[in-house]
């Protein structure tokens, strides 16, 4: 957990804006529980995990948007809808993820 905050401090200290995604609520058998964190950098790279693939693509896209617009957002990731997709079959559940841009300004 400490590593992710050190990464934020290092990148933001250099003037970068990063996005922090935090699971705030989970219902059903979601892969990660509230408090799990993932960091998304402006170049699209990620650090940490909020689900090992499950719903991460959706959150990633919102994070890129958050970095661009500097607007935080609450994202609901529904992993129950498409039961034919691989990730839904493994994951299931619904989770809410708070995505916030962190920069110097």
């Amino acid at each position: 957990m400490k590593e992710i905050f050190e990464e934020i401090a290092a990148h933001v200290g250099q003037g970068e804006t990063v996005a922090l995604a935090t699971v705030t609520r989970s219902l059903g058998s979601t892969p990660r529980k509230p408090g799990a964190k993932m960091l998304i950098f402006p170049d699209g790279k990620i650090s940490g995990s909020i689900g090992g693939g499950c719903g991460e693509a959706e959150v990633w896209a919102e994070a890129m948007e958050a970095i661009k617009t500097k607007q935080p957002r609450l994202v609901t990731v529904d992993l129950t809808q498409d039961i034919t997709s691989d990730s839904a079959m493994i994951c299931g559940g619904i989770m809410e993820v708070f995505v916030e841009p962190i920069g110097l300004a």
Partner: protein, 271 residues
């Protein structure tokens, strides 16, 4: 401000302190300006940051203190007051969702006895994120070569080491020494400690003998009752690795208050 809070969180983790971080994550009337506002509550210090109004801060601080006790992340729901409307830019009665997460010192797994079960147990403890400390009075067993993953390997007398060891509610103690005499000596040192878990290996007969001795010395029954002995979950473990797994599984079960049963049992019970 945000960076200030991040630096403070790093400090909290470094100093093994406890803190709660509150973040506004939603509101029933959409307001982009309040989303993401943060308040960090550190034990024995002034809170850092602000959610936008004194009343909201105070109410959330109370929630943070409760969350620190449970350790479980939670969402506090707050309804804004009339007088807060100009401060928060929200009409009276707006519901504001505040996510609260807790930073607590990492759990420490203390393994007494550096034998053949301790080696895989140390590895598993590290995989699960524990700080792992291995103690044995035999230097040929308690050494970094045998426990490369351990955070600390202490080759010294069991009782003496434990007497000066900081056992806190984040400490998980596993007694797997080479003989029940050493287990008993070690258990005596920690039985009244606030450790989250104390488990002791041994057959039922040996465990009963140790408990009998402690009871004779006047150790209260409720303390003895709290000891997990014989140690481990019943998974039919035979090899040292399997026994280590059974021990660490019990520790995880205690942390998360699980049943230790196969998840499929609940489904079958419904049929």
């Amino acid at each position: 401000m945000m960076l200030d809070i991040i630096q403070n969180i790093i400090e909290v983790i470094d100093n093994k302190e406890t803190a709660a971080l509150a973040t506004i994550v939603n509101s029933s009337v959409s307001s982009p300006t309040i989303l993401g506002r943060k308040l960090l509550v550190r034990v024995g210090r002034d809170p850092i940051g602000s959610l936008g109004s004194e009343h909201l801060n105070r109410s959330v601080i109370d929630g943070c203190l409760a969350t620190m006790r449970s350790g479980k992340p939670t969402i506090l729901e707050y309804e804004t007051l009339d007088e807060e409307a100009p401060l928060l830019g929200l009409p009276q009665g707006t519901r504001v969702d505040v996510f609260v997460e807790v930073f607590r010192p990492v759990r420490t797994l203390v393994i007494l006895g550096a034998g053949h079960i301790a080696q895989p147990l140390c590895k598993m403890g590290k995989i699960l994120g524990f700080e792992v400390v291995v103690i044995d009075d035999r230097a040929e067993f308690a050494n970094v070569e045998r426990f490369p993953e351990a955070d600390r390997v202490i080759a010294a007398d069991f009782a003496e080491t434990l007497r000066s060891f900081p056992v806190i509610p984040n400490t998980y103690i596993v007694l797997i020494t080479r003989g029940h005499r050493h287990d008993e000596v070690s258990l005596r040192e920690v039985i009244a400690s606030p450790a989250a878990y104390i488990g002791m290996i041994g057959s039922r007969r040996r465990v009963a003998a140790v408990f009998h001795n402690l009871s004779e010395e006047g150790v209260p029954a409720e303390l003895i009752e709290k000891v997990y002995a014989p140690i481990g979950l019943d998974i039919g473990a035979e090899s040292p690795e399997e026994i280590a797994l059974s021990i660490i599984a019990e520790v995880v079960r205690v942390i998360h208050k699980g049943t230790g049963q196969s998840l499929s049992l609940a489904r079958k019970a419904q049929l």
